[in-house]
């Protein structure tokens, strides 16, 4: 009987000590904010285009953290979906067509002789990539443009085009060889490796 009491007492003591340590640790090493949202936000392309139905990338990151689908970001495309799936340990699903399709990287271009200098696009640009002043011609700083096309709609004279980012010898990359299911010559239908 005594032994049982000793055992219970020892366990109780152990529990108290461990509890105290855990309690101290939870206070001492408390993590401020919601790190998962930051992690998700870091994977999103930050175009702030709103195609996902949220007013920006961070709100979408917050909704993803709350269980929204991860396939609603067309600018990020499959690469972003894969990265999110990897981070959240969920199935990587194809992009939801409802929110748009994955396009090559685009950049806004203002046809400058048609610009009337209304500054509406400047106000619409989420990253301050448009330069200009009232009644002065506007222009896009290509290196800053995220290709979100938020400036296209407000333009009263329709002088903004979204053009694909030009491929140069600097950003060109090798193509992957043909997929393995194309290995049998007759499957390829005329294509060569």
């Amino acid at each position: 009987m005594e032994i049982v009491l000793y055992a219970v007492g020892a366990l109780l003591l152990l529990a108290l000590v461990c509890g105290a340590i855990l309690g101290f640790a939870s206070e001492r090493f408390k993590v401020e904010g919601d790190p998962i949202v930051d992690q998700i936000n870091a994977l999103l392309p930050q175009t702030q285009c709103g195609q996902c139905g949220h007013p920006g990338c961070r709100p979408y990151a917050e909704s993803i953290a709350n269980g929204e689908a991860i396939n609603r970001c067309p600018p990020g495309g499959q690469a972003t979906i894969n990265a999110l799936a990897d981070l959240l340990d969920v199935e990587a699903v194809p992009l939801d067509d409802e929110h748009g399709e994955e396009k090559p990287p685009m950049v806004a271009y203002i046809r400058e002789d048609e610009c009337i200098g209304c500054t509406k696009c400047i106000q619409a640009c989420p990253v301050d990539a448009i330069l200009g002043a009232a009644k002065q011609m506007h222009t896009v700083i290509v290196s800053e443009c995220t290709g979100c096309d938020l400036c296209v709609e407000p333009c009263p004279v329709d002088c903004i085009d979204m053009v694909p980012l030009e491929v140069t010898t600097r950003n060109w990359k090798w193509d992957k060889p043909l997929a393995p299911d194309m290995i049998i010559a007759t499957d390829r239908g005329g294509q060569t490796a």
Partner: protein
């Protein structure tokens, strides 16, 4: 041979195929007619052109300067003319184009003046480095890294070993072999310059044992110079810089570092020969040794090719068998790539061109599945696991690729060479590297965009907060004032003494201020009351006008009639001056104390609004007078304009006079007068107002058409709707007719100044506005068109669109008409109302009627106002006629509006 050779792992022994070209001496091909010089022949930023099209240049002249730290200049390989600077195809695996300078050779091959360094041992090291950099010397082994940058990247005491790369391990290529055999002294010269610059402990030349003649030549040249020539066994890829460093020193370069970080520099033999030329002869890098080989050539050989020479020119020189040519390979068979066309230029890094027949380089066999044989990992000189990389590359598993050190792969092709399944392994690695780099760039951009977005948000927030704070402060102040007022009203007895005390204080302060002013500026002058001040201002202004008129008279020595009229003007002005002066004196003579001022002040608050208006009006009238006068000045000798202008001026002046009178009346006797000057005021802004309104109407008409169209789109093919649309369109047409009529017959007396002004410089504003209109109309049409595209090919919709377009055109025409012809007929106050009923006929019918009614009511109100003004004006005979006319016109407008209403309701 004392040096121990450290064998690297892996490596392969492909057939060498060097004999074809290695036995012929370096040849000099004829001068090509045209040279293409890409601005980016090196790693780093492209060079910046310093010549322009049409410039005549000499051989060796600078064409493009280095742009940034890691960059290299480009020089003219021969004398001639720059014919173009444009994008051209360049020998790049992508087949893309890059900016190039095109040089047409003049056949003279005349050198520019060169500045060799006679004794480099005496020259400053910085100067030598700069000279090497300015000569455009880049690594000729393949990477094209600027040589001087590499030398300057570490301080001299850090470099203990210089490895000279003469291994040339790729099959077919013999350029370095021939160079070492024929120009060993130049290479050694370059090595000595390097030794002078860097002072390394050791200099080792590594040459593969399949080039015994080159080894002998180099040994002979190096005799007694403490330069070691080491022979390494022939094994691909011993020519890779880091493999050669390992072979000769047994040191490995860490994967996140460069060879300079472990104190070793590696240079190709060709680069050192170029360094020698740059320093000792002062020649920039304008040519290089290139191997021309392959079975499609009659005479495989090495040539000293000018940079920019088209490949086909060189191949021709070596006897190209065009029919046999199947693929043209740039570089060696292991690491090179095929060229799609044969007119690509030779670059600083082009060491070999292989004109291969079909038998020589047959198409790659069909790849089979990986059988995990492991031959590739045995062959890999970097000890990677190629088949693992292959699997992860196929699965796009970038984490695993990084984990398996994909970026350490030197893409030598040894793995693919030994693969029994003929899998193009290097292609997979290259594609994966590209993808990972792209993703990294994307990630960087995303982070950057995020920062910019957050900065912008913060900025907007700060602006908003500032606005809010300002608003709050204002509100607080207003509340405070209100409270005080309320308190004063609640207990006047209690507040009064305090109030009056405060008022006294304010008064005292004011008095002090005026006294100070008086003593400072206008000493001896009596303090001026508000009225006096005003009078004084008026006086000075009228005087100014008088002066101007006189000047105008002096300038316009045109017809006598003109002069007479001007003279009368001046007389009138003079009279005005006299009266004003008199008034001023009277006012001045009145006691100056605060007491008499007070009543004037007190009378003001009641009148406040009116007085303000009057003041504004008088200012406007004055401005009009000034403008007219200016126009008169400008018109100068043009007799045709003068009459009109003069009339205008007179009218404006009469108006000014009237206004002043009215103001005086208003100041003297409080109240109802302002109506009298309304007609005077109203006509004035009417022109701009009418234009504005016309514009608004145009926009609304467009909107209505758009709405109708949208409704039609949504409703589909309902015939009733279509009918409604047609009706609306008919109505729109009517509206436009009305609008045009309104636009063509506008404008009151001051309008006469406008033509003068319009004719002169001010048009730009109106033009701008018209342009905007036009652009917006175009946009509307475009949008409609897009809607149409989306809706499909409904012919009725198309018709509607056409009508809309026609309308847009009409609108523009109307706008132009309005802008061009602001006409002579005076127009009543309610002119805009006359247009409005017309416009309102447009939108949905029930609404429209309501609006018409409102319009009519407004027109009636205007008539009433005019009438009241007429009543008020009373005895002022001068005004009466004008007012009456105005009234009549207003009534006519009201009638028109009523008629429009009837029509619409019918």
């Amino acid at each position: 041979m004392s040096r121990q050779i450290h064998a690297f792992p892996g490596g392969v022994h492909p057939p060498e195929n060097k004999d074809q070209s290695s036995h012929n001496p370096i040849a000099l091909p004829p001068l090509p007619a045209e040279l293409t010089l890409p601005l980016n022949q090196h790693s780093g930023a492209p060079a910046k052109p310093v010549v322009s099209v049409g410039d005549k240049v000499l051989k060796g002249q600078l064409l493009a300067k280095a742009n940034g730290f890691v960059s290299a200049p480009v020089h003219a390989p021969t004398s001639g003319t720059i014919t173009a600077i444009e994008v051209c195809p360049v020998p790049h695996p992508s087949g893309l184009e890059e900016p190039c300078i095109i040089l047409q050779s003049d056949g003279e091959d005349r050198w520019a003046e060169l500045e060799p360094v006679t004794d480099y041992t005496a020259a400053a090291k910085d100067l030598l480095l700069q000279k090497i950099h300015d000569a455009g010397v880049v690594g000729l082994g393949g990477a094209g890294f600027p040589a001087a940058v590499k030398m300057a990247s570490r301080t001299e005491d850090k470099i203990h070993t210089v490895v000279v790369n003469g291994a040339e391990c790729e099959p077919y290529i013999t350029a370095d072999d021939r160079l070492m055999r024929e120009r060993a002294d130049k290479i050694v010269g370059g090595i000595l310059i390097l030794r002078h610059l860097l002072n390394p402990k050791e200099i080792i030349i590594g040459i593969e044992d399949n080039k015994p003649e080159a080894v002998d030549a180099m040994r002979a040249a190096c005799k007694g110079k403490n330069i070691e020539v080491a022979v390494v066994p022939t094994r691909y890829p011993s020519g890779d810089a880091q493999r050669l460093i390992y072979l000769l020193t047994g040191k490995e370069v860490p994967n996140d570092a460069r060879s300079v970080d472990i104190g070793i520099l590696c240079y190709n033999v060709g680069t050192l020969a170029a360094v020698h030329d740059a320093i000792v002869e002062g020649k920039p890098l304008i040519s290089r040794i290139t191997t021309l080989t392959g079975e499609a050539l009659k005479q495989p050989q090495n040539v000293e090719a000018l940079i920019g020479t088209p490949a086909d020119h060189l191949l021709e020189f070596s006897g190209l068998k065009k029919r046999k040519l199947h693929s043209l390979v740039l570089g060696g068979p292991m690491m090179g790539h095929t060229l799609e066309r044969t007119d690509m230029p030779v670059l600083k890094t082009t060491n070999c061109l292989i004109a291969a027949t079909w038998e020589e380089f047959p198409p790659a066999p069909t790849p089979q599945e990986c059988i995990r044989c492991g031959l590739c990992s045995e062959a890999c000189p970097v000890s990677l696991l190629p088949q693992q990389l292959y699997w992860h590359s196929k699965a796009e598993n970038h984490d695993q690729l990084n984990h398996h050190n994909l970026f350490d792969c030197i893409e030598c092709g040894a793995c693919a060479y030994v693969c029994p399944s003929a899998i193009p392994l290097v292609q997979y690695y290259r594609a994966s590297k590209g993808e990972i780099r792209q993703l990294q760039a994307k990630q960087q951009k995303a982070e950057y965009s995020k920062k910019r977005f957050e900065d912008r948000q913060a900025r907007l927030e700060a602006e908003k907060a500032a606005r809010e704070a300002k608003r709050k402060a204002n509100a607080e102040r207003a509340a405070q004032l209100k409270k005080e007022k309320a308190a004063a009203a609640a207990n006047p007895a209690a507040a009064k003494p305090e109030d009056s005390a405060k008022a006294d204080e304010v008064k005292a302060a004011l008095a002090r201020a005026t006294a100070r002013k008086a003593t400072e500026g206008k000493a001896g002058r009596p303090q001026l009351s508000a009225k006096q001040k005003e009078l004084k201002i008026q006086l000075s202004m009228v005087k100014a006008q008088l002066k101007k008129s006189e000047r105008a008279l002096a300038d316009a020595k045109g017809s006598e009639e003109t002069n007479a009229q001007l003279q009368t003007n001046i007389d009138k002005l003079k009279a005005q001056v006299a009266t004003l002066e008199k008034e001023f004196e009277q006012a001045a003579q009145a006691p100056v104390a605060a007491a008499p001022e007070q009543p004037a002040k007190k009378a003001k608050p009641v009148l406040n609004e009116q007085q303000k208006k009057l003041k504004i009006e008088s200012a406007m009238a004055r401005a009009a007078v000034k403008k007219a006068q200016r126009a008169l000045d400008e018109a100068g000798k043009s007799a045709a304009n003068i009459d009109e202008l003069k009339q205008t001026l007179q009218q404006a002046q009469t108006k000014a006079d009237e206004l002043e009178a009215a103001m005086k009346a208003a100041a003297d006797a409080p109240a109802p007068e302002p109506a009298a000057d309304k007609p005077v005021k109203k006509p004035k802004p009417a022109l701009s107002d009418a234009q504005k309104k016309l514009k608004i109407e145009a926009a609304m008409a467009r909107a209505a058409v758009k709405k109708a169209q949208r409704a039609l789109d949504e409703a589909g093919d309902t015939p009733e709707l279509k009918q409604a649309l047609q009706q609306a369109q008919e109505k729109a047409a009517e509206v436009e007719a009305a609008m045009q009529a309104a636009a063509e017959a506008p404008e009151p007396a001051p309008a006469e100044e406008k033509p003068a002004r319009k004719a002169k410089p001010v048009l730009s504003d109106a033009q701008k506005k018209l342009k905007i209109e036009a652009a917006m109309a175009r946009a509307a049409v475009k949008k409609a068109q897009r809607a149409l595209d989306e809706a499909g090919d409904d012919p009725e919709l198309k018709q509607a669109l056409q009508q809309a377009q026609a309308k847009a055109a009409e609108l523009e025409a109307a706008m132009q008409a309005a802008a061009e012809a602001p006409a002579p007929e005076p127009e009543p106050t309610p002119a805009p109302a006359a247009e409005k009923p017309a416009r309102k006929a447009k939108p949905v019918l029930s609404d429209e009627q309501k609006k018409l009614k409102i319009e009519a009511a407004m027109a009636r109100a205007a008539v009433k106002k005019a009438q009241r003004a007429l009543d008020d004006a009373g005895e002022d005979a001068a005004n009466i006629d004008e007012l009456k006319q105005t009234l009549q016109q207003a009534q006519a407008a009201a009638d028109a509006a009523a008629e429009a209403l009837d029509k619409a309701s019918a």
